[in-house]
């Protein structure tokens, strides 16, 4: 089996620039920022949502509410994925009805996580619009899901891994691609 | 009947002080001779006894053969056959059948059924009280005349001190022992196992040792009062052992038995709610186990008895509280005794034969228990070293409820001879198609 190869996709500065660009992109697609709310998907989507909210607040001068969503209980593969993954906290600070909710996640791949997030959000209320912002789109969709705001696109094969590191959890900001070279 | 010559076995007959390699000649249903180089009579069957032990056939003072009433789990025939497979040439049948053995017709029935079966001898034990109800004394004279060798209300204790007193006194007339199952029902009520840490952990109501000790003490006092002979069934506690030891020093006519499961297992066997570890009296703790073994060694406990108690598979396939008490034991007794008592040095082989043949026969005044020329040819020939694994599916008993399935034991019966006929040979297989439960 050929050795796996680790590539640095975004270093710390590129990471920050990308986030900044994403924030502007979200604003551009949200004409009225008042009803804006960011919902980060556990885990690293939550940290990214916090950062984006801060960036948006700087641009608009107003606080952007942000929440966290754990989609474990809505996964379509709970049967298969055991031993049961631990469920993280979910909390939404505001009522979603009529709002423009942006789902924030670190990596978009098959699209199943987003599907689970949409189901879960539906149990909380009815936003006027839901947008999707992801730091990395690695292709490989299994469901008809698309991101409205993408930080970086990188084509990958099924055996590859895309790893996102955030200062708050991992001590550094970076995105790395591990080329698998074939399934173990 | 062809004569049998058993050649070169170690003949072990502690009742007559014999322990030597010798030939054993059985003719006409009797022991003809014991000695070196006995001649082979015409037409005799020659059995090779080299490396084997020949002893008087074992006598079990305590077995439940379930007939009449529960022929689905055992009959006198299958029980007698199982006894033979275990090396027993005689087994005593407890009276808690349905109907109870409390009259001469019932006793006669058992004698007849046993004769028809023709394996181990079956001696009926009559009830102490009519219907075992604990109220009215049964007619001991009638029972003994019909063939009963003792009386007991086993399954239950003799209900009151007054009843026990009159039973002991009345039994003296016929010189039979009163066998008591010692349990104070107000202390044991609802209990399913020994009361201790294990029962606390399992959440099961326990039967305290005192339940047995209290009645043992009662019966000893009554034996002193009446001069009667009380035989304590299935002793299980260190306290009972101490009481019996003391009573014997005073010269009272008390005797006692212990079962193989009580000298082998503790209440730890109940873990996981295994109903094959549920019996009455219950399995107790290591201190009791040690006391029981010591008592067998020093003779405080006179003999080993199986308390063979067959139960249907469906009955034992139940929640622990609801399962019946009791385990079978005829076919594992010798193996357990050799492995658990002789091998570790608690008993010598001679003492084992004494506890399984000579003493039980003496307690119930039965013929047998010894090999004397002119006496009945009841012999067990066994290999004390051969290892085997307990497989209940190969039992001759109709029932399978044993806690010893899969256990490795030492000691296999080669031949059991009753009245000069071989009634069991190692390698025999049970052939009855209608086995209980499976």
């Amino acid at each position: 089996m050929p050795p796996s190869e680790r590539q640095l996709l975004l270093d710390e500065r590129a990471f920050a620039r990308t986030l900044h660009r994403m924030a502007l992109d979200i604003l551009r697609q949200t004409p009225d920022p008042v009803p804006l709310v960011l919902v980060g998907i556990q885990r690293r989507g939550v940290e990214l949502a916090v950062r984006l909210a801060a960036l948006l607040a700087k641009e608009t001068g107003a606080e952007v509410p942000r929440g966290a969503l754990d989609i474990t209980l809505y996964r379509d593969d709970l049967e298969v994925v055991g031993p049961r993954p631990l469920v993280g906290p979910t909390h939404l600070p505001v009522d979603l009805d009529g709002r423009v909710a942006w789902i924030v996640d670190d990596v978009l791949f098959t699209g199943r996580t987003v599907r689970a997030a949409l189901d879960e959000l539906a149990d909380f209320g009815r936003p006027a619009r839901i947008g999707l912002a992801v730091l990395v789109d690695r292709g490989g969709r299994e469901l008809p899901v698309q991101a409205d705001v993408v930080g970086e696109r990188v084509p990958t094969s099924p055996g590859d891994k895309v790893e996102v590191f955030v200062k708050e959890l991992d001590g550094r900001d970076a995105v790395e691609v591990v080329r698998g070279g074939g399934r173990p | 009947m062809k004569p049998i010559l058993l050649r070169g076995a170690r003949v072990l007959d502690p009742a007559n002080g014999r322990d030597e390699v010798a030939d054993l000649l059985l003719e006409g249903g009797l022991v003809k001779g014991i000695g070196r180089a006995l001649g082979t009579p015409d037409g005799a069957t020659v059995l090779e006894g080299k490396g084997l032990v020949a002893a008087p056939g074992f006598v079990d003072l305590h077995a439940h053969l379930r007939e009449p009433g529960r022929e689905d789990v055992e009959t006198i025939a299958t029980g007698a056959r199982a006894a033979a497979a275990g090396g027993f040439s005689a087994v005593c049948a407890m009276p808690n059948t349905d109907p109870v053995t409390d009259n001469q017709a019932a006793v006669g029935f058992i004698v007849r059924q046993a004769g028809l079966a023709g394996f181990a001898r079956v001696y009926p034990i009559g009830a102490v009280s009519v219907g075992q109800k604990g109220e009215q004394l049964a007619e001991f004279g009638e029972l003994v005349a019909a063939g009963a060798v003792a009386v007991s209300d086993d399954g239950r204790p003799v209900a009151t001190a007054h009843l026990m007193r009159t039973a002991l006194e009345y039994a003296r007339t016929f010189d039979i022992p009163v066998i008591d199952h010692c349990e104070d029902v107000t202390l044991s009520h609802g209990g399913a196992m020994h009361e201790g840490v294990t029962s606390t952990r399992l959440g099961l109501k326990g039967i305290p040792r005192s339940s047995e000790d209290v009645i043992v003490a009662r019966d000893i006092a009554l034996a002193a009062l009446t001069g009667g002979h009380v035989h304590f069934a299935h002793v299980s506690t260190a306290g009972a052992v101490a009481l019996i030891r003391e009573a014997k020093t005073r010269g009272l006519r008390v005797t006692a038995e212990v079962t193989p499961h009580h000298f082998t297992l503790t209440d730890a066997a109940c873990e996981g709610y295994d109903t094959n570890a549920k019996m009455n009296p219950p399995l107790r703790e290591t201190g009791d186990l040690a006391a029981l073994r010591g008592a067998l060694a020093d003779g405080t406990i006179d003999c080993i008895a199986t308390d063979h108690a067959p139960h249907h598979y469906d009955a034992k396939e139940a929640e622990f509280d609801n399962a019946p008490f009791g385990v079978v034991g005829l076919e594992t007794a010798l193996g357990l005794a050799l492995t658990e008592l002789v091998e570790p040095g608690t008993l010598t082989l001679a003492q084992l034969v004494d506890r399984m043949a000579a003493r039980p026969a003496a307690i119930a005044h039965l013929p047998g228990g010894a090999l004397r020329p002119g006496g009945a040819a009841d012999v067990v020939v066994f290999d004390p070293g051969q290892e085997w694994t307990v497989d209940p599916s190969r039992f001759f008993s109709k029932s399978r409820n044993t806690p010893f399935a899969g256990r490795r034991l030492r000691g296999v019966v080669r031949w059991t001879i009753v009245g000069g006929r071989v009634v069991h040979t190692a390698g025999d297989r049970p052939d009855a198609p209608d086995r209980s439960g499976r």
């Binding site: 809505y74 055991g82 031993p83 906290p89 996580t113 909380f124 | 029962s199 099961l204 929640e319």
Partner: protein, 319 residues
């Protein structure tokens, strides 16, 4: 740390501290689900769960039912009276018949100790013990642990169980759970209602409830069943209340943060005063809330997850 619990939850005695912590940690997010407007998540959608109750119990059964429904499972309630059990059908046959209808899990309460294990050994479906005789009531033990943990770390906390410990499966489960998580455990009650050899489990014994209250950080008060007098274990309810009742007077000198718990249902004025049950020390209602969350956690953890398939599926990072 993802220790599996195995097929069944029969008791806390044989679980490790890690496994117990896993269940408590898993219960936390389920508390949140019960606060939502839509109290439902699809995690157990399509699963069929049978509540098989051989002993009457409204509270525990309803708590399980809420837990099952909030996980979107389908629930069937079978009460022993009026079922084929009364007609003599054995426990095994009852369960096998249910299994033949392709159920996924059985939540069972039964009057015989060991009944849950008996069933679990004989059917393929997962079995959750909702109380077997006097043996264990693991979900009650777990929700009691969770309730304590809401207020203070369990390790080092002194918990005294007061009452009829001899006949209590709640007490046994509590003892196991608390010991495994490092609490100090004591029991208190009339000696005739304390099991023989209880100290051998690692538990202190207090003869008087005043001593227990002075010592403990948490008091878990057990219900006194009135049959105990009929069967001669204690002379009267009045005497029990006078000697062992947890009353406001007895709590007067207790520290502010002493917790009072009770598995319910309460005999007000027997083992516990109304003013105590409704007072500042009481966390009894929290126990009830936590009960649903803990039961959701247990159902969730037992309801599936095939480790072999999981290994195979690990290649795809599902995002």
């Amino acid at each position: 740390m993802s220790g599996t619990l195995g097929k069944d939850l029969l008791g806390l005695e044989h679980l490790s501290g890690d496994q117990i912590r896993l269940i408590l940690d898993t219960a936390e997010p389920f508390k949140e689900v019960s606060e939502r407007a839509i109290k439902k998540v699809p995690a157990l959608r399509g699963k069929t769960i049978v509540n098989l109750f051989f002993e009457a119990s409204t509270r525990t059964r309803i708590s399980f039912e809420f837990a099952e429904k909030r996980l979107s499972a389908d629930t069937v309630n079978v009460a022993a009276s009026g079922s084929s059990v009364v007609k003599g059908e054995t426990l095994v046959d009852t369960a096998r018949n249910l299994e033949a209808m392709r159920i996924d899990m059985v939540v069972m309460r039964h009057g015989s100790s060991g009944a849950a294990k008996f069933l679990a050994d004989r059917i393929v479906s997962s079995v959750i013990n909702a109380g077997d005789g006097k043996h264990e009531h693991p979900t009650q033990g777990l929700l009691d642990l969770l309730t304590i943990r809401d207020h203070r770390p369990i390790a080092g906390t002194k918990v005294c169980i007061v009452g009829d410990v001899l006949h209590s499966r709640v007490a046994r489960s509590n003892i196991w759970g608390l010991l495994k998580l490092g609490a100090e455990v004591a029991v208190c009650g009339p000696a005739s209602l304390l099991p023989l050899g209880i100290e051998a489990l690692g538990v202190q014994v207090f003869r008087r409830v005043e001593e227990a209250i002075a010592w403990a950080d948490v008091i878990n008060v057990l219900r006194l069943q009135l049959e105990r007098m009929q069967t001669g274990y204690i002379p009267s309810v009045r005497e029990y209340y006078r000697v062992f009742g947890v009353t406001m007077e007895r709590l007067e000198r207790a520290p502010r943060d002493l917790l009072i718990m009770h598995p319910g249902p309460m005999n007000r004025g027997v083992e516990i005063d109304s003013r105590v049950a409704d007072g500042p020390h009481s966390v009894i209602l929290n126990q009830v809330t936590n009960g649903v969350a803990v039961r959701m956690a247990v159902l969730y953890l037992l309801a599936g997850g095939n480790p072999e398939l999981a290994e195979a599926a690990k290649g795809t990072s599902d995002r």
